[in-house]
């Protein structure tokens, strides 16, 4: 097959990204790309090279009806498609052995890890989740140690419990039921979460808690520990 020729692959990838590859050739190239990740990467490299040209394109505010139409066509789209995808990534198996491995992996550079929580399932008391921050980084990392099965219309939401009893918990964001989710803060995450005693996860309707407070059952809880 002539698509094996690296020069031709690069030329077609460049023209695909530029937009001059058209008609049936464009459609054929797109099909090839689906089954050829290396070709997809070559296209992405070209996109990264030439798409900055878009910086010169004027912004034009679209009419409100576009957003309305988007929302209408999304009504009722299934959450399970999304979660199904995360599961197929299958990065993590399960269990304590992995938690230990992760811990050892992190323990090799203890100077970077600033806070960590292992969240246990309230029923089984098994660790399900590891949440951690790195010193001075705005990122909060959530690793699911044992992939969780949740209903198609539900989602997991992470909460920071308040330092004072009479304050409400604060939502930190939604995360995938398997694999790794990274939440980004505007400032260093470990400083913003410095006074937090514990983290908790509740089961919420898709889209997250509608009220800003946990509405579903609390599934996992763990102490927020300074490393």
């Amino acid at each position: 097959m002539k698509y094996a020729n690296p020069e031709l692959r690069d030329k077609l990838a460049a023209e695909y990204a530029l937009g001059t590859l058209r008609g049936a050739a464009r459609a054929r190239f797109r099909r090839l790309m689906k089954y050829d990740p290396a070709l997809r990467r070559t296209v992405t490299e070209w996109e990264n090279r030439i798409y900055p040209m878009t910086e010169a394109t004027a912004e034009v505010e679209p009419p409100a009806r576009v957003w309305n139409a988007i929302q209408a066509s999304l009504a009722g789209t299934a959450q399970q498609i999304v979660l199904g995808f995360w599961r197929t990534l299958g990065l993590f198996s399960s269990g304590l052995a992995l938690a230990l491995l992760l811990y050892l992996g992190l323990a090799q550079r203890p100077e970077t890890l600033s806070y960590m929580a292992l969240l246990n399932d309230q029923k089984s008391q098994q660790p399900v989740l590891m949440v951690s921050t790195v010193r001075n980084s705005p990122k909060l990392m959530i690793k699911v140690l044992a992939p969780q099965t949740i209903a198609a219309d539900k989602v997991l939401e992470l909460w920071a419990l308040p330092a004072e009893q009479d304050k409400p918990p604060k939502s930190l964001g939604l995360f995938a039921a398997s694999g790794v989710t990274t939440l980004q803060f505007s400032q260093a995450a470990d400083q913003q979460l410095g006074n937090i005693p514990a983290l908790a996860v509740s089961l919420e309707p898709k889209g997250g808690s509608p009220t800003g407070l946990p509405t579903g059952p609390v599934l996992y809880v763990g102490k927020w520990l300074k490393m």
Partner: protein
Amino acid sequence: MQPDALGQLLEQCALGNRAAFADLYRQTSAKLFGVALRILRREDWAEEVLQESFVNIWRHAAAYSVYKSAPMTWMISIVRNRALDILRRPGLEIALADESLIEAWEDSDAGPLDRLLKSNEAAALARCLQQLDGNQRQSIMLAFYYGLTHAELAKHLRQPLGTVKSWIRRGLQRLRECLTI
């Protein structure tokens, strides 16, 4: 607009967070609408492309991380591809960009190149575009911004098809070399 912040919104979209999706739309729809409008030059089609693209962005947000590109690049790719697909519609007649607009591109100091040179994200690319021959730069930029085919470019620039194709091919090769350094 910070790539990290947009990436975070996409991750939240992948998890079904509608508020994050609304935020993403607020932050990027004007730029993406501009991209579609430039290629299609018809508002109704550009609206259609923007709508379909955002539905796709929502549905495929989880796949975003697989591509090693900035969030905006990934979204622009979706919009451009939908817009170029529409240009394939049978019997479609689109008024090409008017001559004066195209002539403005021939001057390397005018218009888009000037704007690119002033932008942080595109400055390296702009400097490399500047180093191309005028013909190469003009055909690449016209093809990119207006979605012109080789044949349309040849007609507009009043040059043989083979000449235009080789301008683009050589121009792209030189761009890559220049951006690698």
